[in-house]
Symmetry: C2
């Protein structure tokens, strides 16, 4: 019984890995042989468990197989600024495995229970050099992370909440459709933008009063595109 369970679990794992960015364009058999050629382990984590602290050395590559993790910066007043959420089949701290420091920039904690695949750095390096495609994928991931962070800086550089909201909406705005879908609670968005939740609500209220937008749950209607743009363009 334990055997069939193990087989079942393994099968599921490889299905997750197959759609993982790091193994893009590889077949399950290829992934299997690559993984089995380097030592690795599967770790179970529970909800709210902290998997790594900011400042800790990054010594292993981690890929989320099940559940959800989050990276958050703890500022020194004890408040936390959510940086990103990590779902399967994403890699954790990909941009911090190499480089001059290789130190966790955020606290890594679990938003639910789940599983991760762990490969130690040495083994991961071998894995990278053993397949050109994996290498190319990894490059794309790391560059993508840098771009994500750069994006984040753009956000934090805005002074007012109104600017942040305008920028966020215009980023997710597709021409032709006046509705922007927010797949996040207002509370979550506040964390994302690095502002206090009541302040966000207040500003949203102001922007509704000005007839710029209509905020409905997770749907936001853009009422006055030009004025919204002029908040940023002025």
């Amino acid at each position: 019984m334990c055997d069939t369970l193990t087989i079942f679990v393994k099968k599921k794992i490889f299905e997750v890995l197959k759609v993982s960015p790091i193994f893009k364009e590889l077949e399950i058999e290829e992934i299997n042989s690559l993984i089995n050629n380097c030592s690795h382990q599967i770790k179970q984590f529970s909800n709210k468990e902290v998997l790594a602290y900011s400042g800790e050395k990054v010594e292993k590559a981690m890929i989320v197989l099940e559940g959800k993790l989050q990276g958050e910066m703890i500022d020194f007043a004890g408040n936390s600024l959510k940086i990103e959420e990590i779902d399967p089949p994403q890699m954790v701290a990909a941009a911090f495995l190499y480089g001059p420091q290789s130190i966790f920039p955020v606290n890594l904690s679990a938003l639910s229970e789940g599983k991760i695949l762990i490969i130690y750095k040495n083994d991961f390096t071998k894995l990278l050099s053993s397949d050109q495609r994996v290498l190319k994928n990894y490059l794309n991931i790391v560059s993508g992370k840098a771009q994500f962070l750069s994006q984040k800086i753009t956000f934090l550089s805005f002074r007012t909440i109104k600017e942040k909201i305008a920028y966020y909406l215009l980023q997710n705005y597709k021409t032709g459709n006046q509705i922007v879908i927010i797949n996040q609670s207002q509370t979550g968005l506040a964390g994302m933008l690095g502002v206090a939740r009541p302040s966000l609500a207040r500003t949203i209220g102001e922007m509704e009063a000005e007839q710029l937008i209509r905020w409905d749950r997770n749907q936001v209607a853009i009422l006055d595109l030009k004025s919204l743009q002029s908040i940023l363009g002025k």
Copy 2:
């Protein structure tokens, strides 16, 4: 005469490239043969010239050979937030050559006249796959960039100017020496921290009144290390 000049210039270029992070551990002859196997060009730029605008597509790898460049974000009030300076023999926008978007995150402008080496993306990709060491170097550079940006986020995440100052000083503080050297004017520092200049001066004044520091030109004496740390640690 033109020939000897060319040879002289070429020699100088390869000396710069030899100490460049991307060609670390390679000999001049190896670099020469790698470069000559892919099409490239040398571009002269003049002071204050803008080499790339934020949002533009990144299609080429650039390495600064001479002079100084800067990346700066222009916020929508027209103020600029300096992000980093790029000296020879650094690579420009290394983290934005690959990845899902490959778009310049900042305006790239010249702080002096100088020269850059340009290699188009396709050729650069070939270069990467043709030498394992170059590839490894590139990985380190890109990861380093991500880490730099992450660092920057730490800065921008601080709420108060006092926190920013404390963080900045403690970062540049070497144990044993109570004096931190600021190689920047107060005005420049204000730009770096993303705050208004009078506000910075005011806060410095407050911190001097509290006997935390003594600010003298570009020398800052740390008077009360523990209290300074507790600004961040609280």
